[in-house]
Amino acid sequence: MNKNSLYNIFIENDSVFAFVKAFLAVLSAFILVYFILLVTGYRPLPVYSALFQGAFGSRRGFGETLLSTTPLLFSGLGFALAYRCGLFNIGLEGQITMGGIAAAFFGFIIPEINPFIHVLICISAGALAGGMWGFIPGYLKAKFGVHEVISVIMLNHIAFKFAAYLVSMQGPMKDKIDDMPASPVISESAKIVRIVSRTRLHWGIFLGIVIAVLVWFLLFRLRLGFKIRAVGKNPYAAEAAGISIKKHIIITLSLSGALGGLAGAVEILGVHYRLFAAFSPGYGFDAIAVALLGMVNPIGIIASSFLFGILRSGSVFMQAMYGVNKDMVSVITAIIVFFMGMSIPIGILIKDRIKRKNHGLDV
C-alpha cells in the first residue's frame, strides 16, 4: 500500500476532507474550552461528559437534541442556498420571525379542521411569508443594486418589532384572555404531532431531512440549481452564458427566505403553539455557522445542525450538574462556533502541509 494513500484519500475525496476539517475544528474548540473551564474553576471532563449525557443520556434529552436541530436545519439550508448564489443572507432571523407570525395567525384563526390540511396551510403560509421577506431584498438588489446584507438587516429589525407589536398589550394578535404578551394558542389541528411520548420531539425533523434532500437535488441535479451555482461562482461568466443574474438573485433569496419561514413555522407549530415576540433565539444567525460547518452542502448541514443541537440541549445539563452559569455556556458554544468557522482555513492549512510533504519538502 502506498505510504501516502491515507493522506491522499483525505485531500482527494472532497466529502471525506470536508468531514476531517470540520472534525478538527470541533476538536480544537473542545481543547481550548477545556483550558478555559480549567482556569475558571470547573472540572472540564465531567462538564463535557454532562454535555453529552444531557444530549444523549435520556430519551427526553435526545428528543430535545433533535428538537433544537430542527430549526437550525431549515435555516442552515436557507443560508447555504443563498451562499451558493454568492449572497450573504444574514436576514434569516427576520424571515423566521415572519414565517412564525404567519403560521401562528393561520394556526389560531382557523378552527379545528383536518390536521393534515391545517398544518399544510400554516406551513405554506410560513414559507410564503418568509419567502416574501427574502423576495424584498432580492428585488432591491436586482433592480437597484442595494446590497442584500444592508437590506436584510433592516428587514430583520422590522420583523422583530412587528412581532413585538402584534403581541403587545394593545396589539391585534394579543390573546385577549391570557396575561402573557403572546398570541392565542393555535388550534389542536394546527399542532405538529409529537413523535415520542414525554418528549417534545415532533415530525418537523423529518420534514427538515426531506427538505435537505430536496435542496440538494435542486442545487446539484436541477438546471435551476446549476444556474444558481453558476451565478455564485462567477456572475459575469454566467451572464455571458445567458443566465440572468438578476432573476436568479431574486429566486434564490426568495427560496432562502422561504426556508427561513419554514423554520419559524415549524418552531411555532411544533414547540411554542403560539406566537411570542422573540420565539426564535437567534436560529437565523446560528444558521451561518451551521451552513459553513456543513460545507454549504445540504447533507453536511444535516450533520452540522445536529452538532449544534447537541450543544443546545446538552448545555442545560452542564448547568444543572455543575452549575456552569448561562453566560459561560454561551461563551463555550460561541468558541465552538468560532472554531467551526475556522474549519475552512484549517482545511487550507492541511492541504498545504500535505502538498509540501508530497513534494518532499517535509520529512
Binding site: 403587545s168 414547540v271 444543572a320
Partner: protein
C-alpha cells in the same frame, strides 16, 4: 509526520477513555453516603440571576429555605423561550421536590411540565396554572404601589410625579393603577406622567423615558421596569431628584436619590412554598401575597422620606390591611376609584 499523527491519535484516545473514567468516578464520589437532602429548585426567566429584582429575590428565598429546612437549592437560568421546558423537566427528572418557575413568560412551560410530572410540585411566580400540583403565586403590587404613590405625591413640591413602566402588561398596569390611586389619595390635584419603555432590558431607554418627566416638573418618578429601570435611577442621580425603586430595596444603587422602594418579597412566597413541601401539606391553587402577608411593603432606607410622610404611609397601610381602603388593581377599578376621606 505520520508518527506525529499517531501520537496525536493516541493522546486523543487516552483522553476520551480517561474522560469516561473520570466522569464515571466523579459521579460515585459526588454522591457519598451522606444523608440525602431534599432538592428545591427554580428556573429563572430570561433576565437570569443578578437582575437585582425578582429572580434574585426568589433565589434568596431558596437560600433562606436552606437554612431553615436544611434543603439543597438549585437553579437553572434560561436564555430563551424554548429553554423553559427542558430546564423545568431536567430539574424534575433530577429529583427536585419543588420546581419554581419565575416570571409570567414561563407559564406555558410550567403547565406543560407539571402535567408531565404529576408527582412533583411546582411553583409559578406571577402567573396562573390550574393544576393540582402547581401553586400559583400572585402579588398585590397595587397595595404597595398605592403607598409609594401617596409618598411621591406628598414629597413632590411641584404637584407633579412620574411613572416609568417596562412593558405595558397586566402586572405593570396593576402597579400603575395602585400608584395613581395612592397619589390621588394624598393629593387630589396631583398630576401623574406615565410612560412605558416597551422593554425591561434597556437601561438607556429608561433614562430617555425618565428625563422628560423630570424636565416637566416631576420630582419623584416610580420605576417598574427591571433593567430599564436602572436607567431611570441614573436619570434621577444626574438630575439630583427622587426615584422610587421596585421589587427589592434599591436604595444602595443611588443612596441620595432612591426615596423609597416598593418591596415585593418573592423570597417569602418561595420560602412558604418550600415549607409546604417539607411539611407534606402542599396544596395547588392560587396564593395571594400582599401587605397583610408581609410580602408587600415600602422601604425607608436612607431616611429620605420626612417622618410625617412615613407616618402617613403607615396609616394608609393599616387601612389597607383592615380593608378600609381597596387599592385598584386595573384601569377599570382605577376609573371608579374615589379617594377615601381621611
Amino acid at each position: 509526520m505520520k508518527k506525529m499523527l499517531k501520537a496525536v491519535l493516541l493522546v486523543l484516545l487516552i483522553t476520551i477513555v480517561a474522560s469516561g473514567l473520570w466522569a464515571g468516578g466523579a459521579k460515585d464520589a459526588d454522591t457519598p453516603a451522606a444523608e440525602k437532602k431534599l432538592v428545591m429548585a427554580m428556573v429563572t426567566n430570561q433576565s437570569g440571576l443578578g437582575d437585582q429584582s425578582f429572580n434574585d429575590a426568589a433565589w434568596e428565598g431558596l437560600g433562606q429555605a436552606e437554612v431553615k429546612y436544611g434543603i439543597e437549592r438549585k437553579v437553572l437560568e434560561s436564555r430563551e423561550q424554548a429553554q423553559y421546558v427542558p430546564n423545568l423537566s431536567t430539574l424534575a427528572e433530577q429529583g427536585a421536590s419543588l420546581v419554581v418557575g419565575v416570571g409570567f413568560m414561563i407559564k406555558d412551560a410550567v403547565a406543560e411540565t407539571a402535567e408531565m410530572y404529576p408527582d412533583i410540585y411546582f411553583g409559578m411566580v406571577d402567573g396562573s396554572v390550574e393544576l393540582p400540583n402547581v401553586a400559583s403565586i400572585h402579588f398585590k403590587e397595587n397595595e404597595g404601589a398605592f403607598l409609594v404613590g401617596a409618598i411621591a405625591a406628598k414629597v413632590t413640591t411641584t404637584g407633579k410625579i412620574g411613572f416609568v413602566g417596562g412593558m405595558s402588561t397586566p402586572v405593570t398596569n396593576r402597579f400603575e393603577a395602585g400608584y395613581r390611586a395612592g397619589a390621588m389619595t394624598a393629593d387630589p390635584n396631583v398630576e401623574v406622567f406615565v410612560s412605558y419603555a416597551g422593554t425591561f432590558a434597556d437601561a438607556a431607554k429608561g433614562e430617555e423615558m425618565a428625563n422628560p418627566q423630570y424636565e416637566q416638573g416631576a420630582e419623584v418618578v416610580f420605576q417598574v421596569a427591571g433593567q430599564t429601570g436602572l436607567g431611570v435611577i441614573n436619570a434621577a442621580k444626574k438630575k439630583g431628584l427622587f426615584v422610587i425603586g421596585v421589587d427589592r430595596d434599591q436604595n444602595y444603587l443611588a443612596p441620595e436619590n432612591v426615596l423609597s422602594s416598593m418591596i415585593k418579597r418573592v423570597d417569602i412566597a418561595v420560602l412558604n412554598a418550600v415549607g409546604m413541601v417539607v411539611d407534606g401539606n402542599f396544596k395547588g391553587g392560587h396564593y395571594y401575597y400582599g401587605i397583610n402577608e408581609g410580602a408587600i411593603d415600602f422601604a425607608t432606607t436612607g431616611n429620605l422620606i420626612p417622618k410625617d410622610i412615613v407616618d402617613y404611609a403607615n396609616m394608609l397601610k393599616k387601612k389597607i390591611v383592615s380593608g378600609e381602603i381597596k387599592p385598584p388593581a386595573t384601569y377599570e377599578e382605577l376609573e371608579s376609584f374615589t379617594p377615601p376621606a381621611l
